[in-house]
């Protein structure tokens, strides 16, 4: 525009002094000085890219990172308990009739050891679900707050509900999407699937029974007999709650399981962990 205008001599006042100076300024430093609009545009582009990255992180990369982290943490915890047990067994050999390591011919079961209720964010168990793959292992800790238990650790235990193997209801909550999504495939469970809770004492095997969808206010799923008020505990239940539909606050999905057996650590890992039994 300026190039077309200046040679015509549109400004007869001082064309020689004005036009060449402007042209030389353009030629030597084209776009040298970043304009406000240019910087603003680059900032907006950057913000857009960061937002896309956030979506990618939230829906995909974050779960890959956290999922691997959860599994590694639980693996470490499991090994630590096993090591503690072996050290104890070595210290008092009379107390261990079976040598650890030799596979028991059949699963040895015993009366379940009942742990005391854990403190907030205290890890007391590891959940294994063979249906979700051999690598599926997530720590379980006390409390159901997001900042202290569900986001940083994985699975939370409803305070006031029973403990693994105890008569009544062992109730847990975890994310179904994001934060490593421990309960992501909760709707894929089949009737009879093993849900194994590992603690320092051994393995509690529960068997999945049924799914239910409830309103977020349905606290009666946490009762000793789920959804039955004023009924004394009549069995050993496991209740898992998560969000439903995925990414929504509207409802909750609830998975009920029933206690099957307890395998003490001295008997070695139960066959239910292999997903075959």
């Amino acid at each position: 525009m300026d190039d077309a205008a200046t040679p015509e001599g549109a400004g007869p006042d001082a064309p020689e002094s004005g036009a060449p100076k402007r042209r030389s300024a353009r030629a030597t430093k084209p776009r040298r000085r970043a304009s406000v609009i240019g910087v603003l545009g680059e900032l907006l582009l950057t913000a857009g890219v960061v937002m896309l990255l956030y979506v990618g992180w939230q829906l995909w990369i974050g779960d890959v990172i956290y999922g691997a982290e959860r599994s590694a943490q639980a693996q470490e915890q499991s090994e630590q308990w096993q090591q503690q047990y072996e050290e104890q067994a070595a210290a008092s050999p009379s107390a261990t009739p079976g040598t650890p390591g030799t596979p028991a011919p059949a699963d040895t079961t015993a009366d379940p050891v009942i742990l005391p209720e854990p403190a907030d964010a205290e890890i007391f168990g590891i959940m294994h679900i063979p249906r979700f793959g051999p690598d599926y292992q997530v720590n379980i800790a006390g409390g159901i707050t997001r900042p202290r238990t569900l986001d940083p650790i994985g699975i939370g235990h409803y305070p006031g509900t029973q403990m693994p193997g105890e008569m009544g209801n062992f109730a847990l909550a975890a994310h179904r999407t994001t934060w490593g999504k421990p309960f992501n495939r909760i709707a894929d469970l089949h009737v009879g699937d093993a849900i194994v809770i590992e603690t320092p004492d051994g393995w509690y095997t529960y068997r999945f029974r049924t799914l239910e969808y409830v309103k977020p206010s349905a606290v009666d799923v946490l009762l000793p007999v789920p959804q039955a008020t004023d009924v004394a505990a009549n069995g050993r239940y496991l209740t898992m709650t998560s969000c439903s539909p995925m990414y929504s606050l509207a409802e909750r999905i609830v998975a009920y399981s029933i206690f099957d057996s307890f395998t003490p650590r001295s008997a070695g890992a139960p066959s239910s962990l292999n997903g075959t039994a």
Binding site: R31, A34, G38, V39, E42, L43, V50, L53, Y54, W57, Q58, I61, G62, I65, I144, R146, P147, L150, D151, G156, Y158, A173, A174, H175, R176, T177, T178, W179, F183, V214, P216, S217, A218, V219, V221, L222, T241, S242, C243, Y247, L249, R252, V254
Partner: protein, 51 residues
Amino acid sequence: MYAALWRILPGPWWVRVLILVILAAAVLYGLFFYAFPWISEIVNPQEVTVQ
């Protein structure tokens, strides 16, 4: 802004590209492991419990 960044980086073009790649990796790490988890707690309400 980015043009200015390119100009103040030293060395030949491939050194600058290398520096930028390292910078980008550092920024991504900060976002994925610190910024996004923090933002997620604020902007992504998720309730998995009954109460």
